[in-house]
C-alpha cells in the first residue's frame, strides 16, 4: 500500500457560488522511500497540493477528497490534534524562500530545540545535542557556533540547510520540498539538492519534490507528476516520461528546455498562459494552447487514463503510444 494515497483531491478558494479552482480531481500516490517530482508552470496547483497535504489551507480555502490517507490514516477525518502531531514528525516540509521561513526573532538553536521538544521531548541538554547532530548532518560547518546565530546572519543556502535540519529532525517518512532551490544562488542549488537526496537515501524517506526545473527532476526523481491548471496531466516513470512523453503538455515543457534547443535561434515556448480562475476552458484545460487539439478536446474534458502500469495520462490523443489512437 502506498505511503500517501490521495484520490480525487479538490481545493477551492473563493465563495461557494463562484469557487476559484486551485486543484481539481487530483490523484497522487507516493510509496515509502520514493522520490516523486511534481512539475508544472506557476499556478498549476503544485504548492496548493502540498499545503493541502500539510493541512495548511486556511479559510476560505476548502479541501475535499475521496481518499486522503497517509500510512493508512485518513487525514480528513483525523482529529485536529493528531493531524497536527503528524506534521513535522511524519510529514515535513521545506519551503521556497528559506530566508523568510525562519523566525527572525529566534536563533537556529531555538528553532531546532523547539521542534524537537514539541515532538519528542527530553532534557534541555539532550535536545541541544540532538540539534547539534542535526546541523552536522546537514553539513553546516561549525554547528556549535551556528546554534546561536539568528536567521539574518545566515546566507540563503545556510538558511535552507537549517530548514532541512528542522524538517528531518523527527525522521519524517515523507518530506515535501516546495521549490527548495529556487531562491538560492545557482552555485548553492546543486549542493542543497545533493544534500536532500543524500538524506532521502540514508533515511529511506519519501521525497515529494516540487519544482519547475525539469532538469532537476530528470536527475533525481523516480517518478514524475506533471500538473497543469490544478489537474494532473501525466504521471510516468523516469526516464521514459522524458524520452516518450505521452501528454502534449509534457512534450511542450520538454521542448522548452534549453538543452533541447541547441542550434536554434530562440527557445521554444508554449503559447498563451495558464487559464485564470474564471476562464477555465470547458473541454481539456490545455486545449487552447495545444498544437494537437481537436474539436472534441474543446468540448469535453478528458479523464485520467492508465495506458500501462505506472503511468497515467489525461489526453484523448496521447503521444508515443502504439495503440490505435495515434
Amino acid at each position: 500500500m502506498a505511503l500517501l494515497d490521495i484520490k480525487n483531491l479538490s481545493v477551492h478558494f473563493g465563495t461557494e457560488a463562484r469557487p476559484i479552482i486551485a486543484v481539481e480531481h487530483l490523484d497522487l500516490q507516493i510509496d515509502a522511500g520514493e522520490v516523486v517530482g511534481i512539475v508544472g508552470e506557476s499556478g498549476s496547483g503544485k504548492s496548493v497540493t502540498s499545503l493541502a497535504l500539510m493541512g495548511l489551507i486556511d479559510a476560505p480555502g476548502r479541501v475535499s477528497a475521496e481518499s486522503f490517507s497517509f500510512d493508512g490514516r485518513n487525514l480528513l477525518t483525523l482529529p485536529k490534534r493528531e493531524r497536527r502531531a503528524m506534521l513535522g514528525r511524519d510529514i515535513a516540509m521545506i519551503f521556497q524562500d528559506p530566508m523568510t521561513s525562519l523566525n527572525p526573532c529566534f536563533t537556529v538553536g531555538d528553532h531546532l530545540i523547539e521542534t524537537l521538544a514539541v515532538h519528542e521531548g527530553g532534557s534541555r541538554k539532550a535536545l541541544r545535542n540532538r540539534a547539534l547532530e542535526l546541523l552536522t548532518q546537514v553539513e553546516i560547518p561549525d554547528p556549535a557556533r551556528r546554534m546561536a546565530a539568528y536567521p539574518h546572519q545566515l546566507s540563503g543556502g545556510m538558511s535552507q540547510r537549517v530548514m532541512i535540519a528542522l524538517a528531518i529532525a523527527c525522521n519524517p517518512r515523507l518530506l515535501i520540498a516546495d521549490e527548495p532551490t529556487t531562491a538560492l544562488d545557482v552555485t548553492v542549488q546543486a549542493q542543497v539538492l545533493e544534500l536532500l537526496l543524500r538524506l532521502q537515501r540514508e533515511r529511506g524517506m519519501a521525497l515529494m519534490l516540487i519544482t519547475h526545473d525539469l532538469g532537476v527532476v530528470a536527475e533525481t526523481a523516480h517518478r514524475v507528476v506533471v500538473m497543469y491548471a490544478g489537474q494532473v496531466m501525466e504521471t510516468g516513470k523516469v526516464p521514459s516520461i522524458f524520452t516518450q512523453p505521452r501528454h502534449p503538455y509534457t512534450e511542450a515543457l520538454l521542448s522548452a528546455l534549453p538543452e533541447n534547443n541547441i542550434g536554434r535561434e530562440r527557445l521554444q515556448t508554449i503559447p498563451g498562459v495558464v487559464p485564470g480562475a474564471y476562464d477555465r476552458p470547458q473541454g481539456c484545460l490545455l486545449a487552447p494552447r495545444c498544437q494537437y487539439a481537436q474539436e472534441s478536446c474543446r468540448t469535453t474534458r478528458p479523464t485520467l487514463a492508465s495506458p500501462d502500469a505506472g503511468s497515467q495520462v489525461r489526453c484523448f490523443f496521447p503521444l508515443h503510444t502504439s495503440g490505435p489512437k495515434e
Binding site: M54, L87, G88, F95, T100, N103, C105, T115, H152
Partner: protein, 336 residues
C-alpha cells in the same frame, strides 16, 4: 548592544538642545517682555520694571541668557514660580508621583486589555469578535476624553455611588508621603481603609485616561498580528506541527510586538507628560493640572520648566523603547 545604546544616547543631545531653545524662545515670544507680562493688567512703574529686568538678567544679550539657561537647566535649576516663589523643580517633583501613578495604572489598564483584544481580533479575523473589538475600540478612540470622563463620573459616582468623584484619597486619610505613590503610601500608613480609598479614587481616572491608549493598542496589535500571521515563518512554524497557541504567542506575537512597542512608547510618553483633561476633571494633583493652572496664572517659569521636563520625560521614554527594540528584535541589536 552597548554601542547601540551609546549611539542612541548621542542622538539625544541635539534633541535636548533643540527643546531648550524652543522653551527659551517661548518666554521671549511673549508680547512685551516677561516682566511686563508678570505685572499683569495693573502695569508697573518704569523704575521697578528696569530693576526687575536686571534682577532676572533679562537685559543681557540673548545668547548669553540662553547659555546661562541651558547650564542652569542642566543642573536642575529651572527658576522659581512667580506665584508661589517655590523652585519649579521642587513643585514638579512634588506633583510628578501623582501623574506617574495615574499613568502607570492607565497604561497597565490599556495593555492588559488592549493587547489581548487585538490578538484575539486578529486570530478570529472577520468574525463577530473581531468586528466587536474593532467597533468598540473605534468608539473608544473617537470619544472626547472630557465627555467620556464626565459620563463615567455621572454614571459610576453620581448614579451608582460606587466611586468618589475627585481627588486621590478621601479627606479623613492623610498618609505620610514616602514614595509619593498614594497606593503604596496608603498601604504603608497601615490605616485601615486608606488603601481601599486610594484605589477607588484611581479607578475612574484610570479608565478615562486609559481608553484612548487601549483603543490604539488594540487596533495596532490587530494589524501587526495580521501582518505577521501572513509571514512565511508562521506558515513554516505551523508546518512543524506547533500548536496554534504556540505559533500565536511565541512566533507571531514576538514579531508583532515590535511595531506595537513604538505605540506603547509614544502613549507612555504622552501620559507621563501629564494628562491635562483627565487631571483637571478629576482634580488629580499631577503635572497636567499644574501646567494648566500655571498657564492660567501666567506663571511663565513654571510653564517653561514644565514643558522642558515633560519633553525630557518623553525623550527618556523613547530612549527606553529604543533599548527594548534591541531586546525584542535581534536584527536591530546586531546592526553595525
Amino acid at each position: 548592544m552597548i554601542s547601540f545604546f551609546l549611539r542612541r544616547l548621542g542622538v539625544l543631545i541635539p534633541t535636548f538642545l533643540g527643546i531648550t531653545l524652543l522653551v527659551f524662545a517661548l518666554i521671549h515670544m511673549i508680547p512685551g517682555d516677561p516682566v511686563e507680562a508678570m505685572s499683569g493688567e495693573r502695569g508697573m512703574d518704569s523704575a521697578r520694571h528696569a530693576q526687575l529686568m536686571t534682577e532676572f538678567g533679562l537685559n543681557r544679550p540673548l545668547p548669553v541668557q540662553y547659555v546661562d539657561y541651558v547650564f542652569k537647566a542642566a543642573k536642575g535649576d529651572l527658576g522659581r514660580s512667580i506665584v508661589t516663589q517655590e523652585s519649579v523643580m521642587r513643585e514638579f517633583l512634588d506633583r510628578f508621583p501623582a501623574t506617574f501613578e495615574l499613568s502607570l495604572c492607565a497604561i497597565t489598564f490599556a495593555l492588559t486589555i488592549g493587547i489581548p483584544a487585538g490578538i484575539i481580533a486578529a486570530f478570529k479575523r472577520n468574525s463577530v469578535v473581531d468586528y466587536g473589538v474593532m467597533g468598540v475600540s473605534l468608539a473608544g478612540y473617537s470619544m472626547p476624553i472630557f465627555w467620556w470622563a464626565l459620563l463615567l463620573i455621572l454614571f459610576f459616582s453620581v448614579q451608582l455611588g460606587w466611586t468618589p468623584v475627585s481627588g486621590r484619597i478621601a479627606v479623613e486619610y492623610d498618609p505620610e508621603v514616602v514614595t509619593g505613590l498614594m497606593l503604596i503610601d496608603s498601604l504603608l500608613s497601615g490605616e485601615p481603609g486608606a488603601f481601599r480609598s486610594a484605589a477607588s479614587h484611581l479607578i475612574l481616572p484610570t479608565i478615562a485616561l486609559g481608553t484612548i491608549p487601549l483603543a490604539t493598542l488594540a487596533r495596532m496589535t490587530r494589524s501587526a498580528m495580521l501582518e505577521v500571521l501572513g509571514e512565511d515563518y508562521v506558515r513554516a512554524a505551523r508546518a512543524r506541527g506547533l500548536s496554534p497557541l504556540r505559533v500565536l504567542t511565541r512566533h507571531a506575537l514576538r514579531n508583532a510586538l515590535i511595531p506595537v512597542l513604538t505605540v506603547i512608547g509614544l502613549q507612555v510618553g504622552t501620559l507621563l507628560a501629564g494628562a491635562i483633561l483627565t487631571e483637571t476633571i478629576f482634580s488629580w494633583p499631577g503635572i497636567g493640572k499644574w501646567m494648566v493652572e500655571a498657564i492660567h496664572r501666567r506663571d511663565y517659569p513654571v510653564v517653561q520648566g514644565g514643558i522642558l521636563l515633560s519633553a525630557t520625560i518623553v525623550i527618556a521614554v523613547n530612549l527606553i523603547v529604543d533599548m527594548l527594540y534591541g531586546v525584542v528584535n535581534p536584527r536591530i541589536r546586531h546592526q553595525r
